[in-house]
Symmetry: C2
Subunit: 265 residues, 2 copies
Amino acid sequence: MTPSPLILITNDDGYQAAGIQALARAVASFAEVYVVAPDGPRSGAAASITCTTPVSYSSLDKTLSPWREMKGGFYASSGTPVDCVKLALEQIVPRKPDLILSGINHGDNASVSVHYSGTMGAVYEGCMKEIPSIGVSLYLQRGQRYEDNPVSDDTLTAIAALCRRVLEQGLPQDVCLNINLPVAHKFRGWQVCRQARGQWSAEWVTATHPFGQRAFWLTGQFTDLEPEANDTDFAALRAGYCSIVPVTVDTTAHAAIRTIQNLIS
Amino acid sequence: MTPSPLILITNDDGYQAAGIQALARAVASFAEVYVVAPDGPRSGAAASITCTTPVSYSSLDKTLSPWREMKGGFYASSGTPVDCVKLALEQIVPRKPDLILSGINHGDNASVSVHYSGTMGAVYEGCMKEIPSIGVSLYLQRGQRYEDNPVSDDTLTAIAALCRRVLEQGLPQDVCLNINLPVAHKFRGWQVCRQARGQWSAEWVTATHPFGQRAFWLTGQFTDLEPEANDTDFAALRAGYCSIVPVTVDTTAHAAIRTIQNLIS
């Protein structure tokens, strides 16, 4: 008998988030599921790691957890999403995972937001450890909550089918997947696309501490710099499709190497 | 008279680090320098942003600062390196910077370490804001301190010359630079190269809290997976050269799009 694949699941919204519970349920029928997730929100954590303080993790009480019917292990950590993956791989899982999933993030990680994303930070980490890794995020408008706009059952079924394909066929070397989902009652299909060029602006709102000091809350307006393109993640989302961007952990701008050689010569 | 270029400088080691002081001094003769840096160490911050709490910044006492002879402004922030760039651009600098510098980091950001790097997080941010941006890091062996291995004067001169070239010619769209320096008494030259494939392992050391709980310190061994290559950042560093990797903020693995289309069909 072939053993069940082992799937490690993390996120950046914390283990109590609705999104990670949906993602775990989507794959639990065919996999042994290990959840190792932050103990609270880590939005905007990117691929950050905890260098200056120690981190810890603890086993969740399975009888109280949303995963009580599942086969696997369930842990919360004081660290970042990347810390969770590093802890899981060296300290927690009984063997190398066959797949790493991160999400479902409450908010999109399309276009340049991929750079700030704790969801995708964990995915990069899995990819650098040569494990097929997929991030999944839900594109919510400001003020929309995941709980009021849950990912539809047929979309979760499509995600599970994609995971099985990746388990069978793997992913190219140094490539992981950044999936973004539109809010939709029904799954319309996948579009494989590239990261849209985009820019955040108007990023700060001034707050005043009760003692009078100024402080700044991060917010911002996102602008798609390629609104006419039809091959970007945002174009797919606007058309109601689920976007898949294959992402590489090789940051080199290979096409720019000659330009930079000329610049220094 | 052409006004001096405005250069924004940040880092992830905090405004008191020796590296950022060296970098500011290297360009102060031809530029107006704004330093907006974290108020303490943020190693491993990647491109993280502060989403759940407000951040603040304050002007440093110029008479006490290492920058007291320079023209410009000097600030410390409670935020991450990316927060520092975002704060600087919208709240602090008098006009859009002509160049953003980050570093000199006390430790390398070659190969996959670029993903964890707060130094390079700030550089991505500048690049996404369409400002030429350069990260500079010093490759220290474990236990080596920047203070005992300062970047040589002729290397600082070469960095300043490179900055002037970039100020004149700009950088390609969506491309920034990741520079790593070897410890060396003399500047041997630049090598434009690609990011080495690499992997971290043995990443945790178990610690025990005085009350008995286990905790984990992040550490690790880095392995260059391409030790025979001669076109990578680590190859350049091993040969005593200063490496320049042109880095793109487009994470798309363009060459993998067809493979993923086949995977889902």
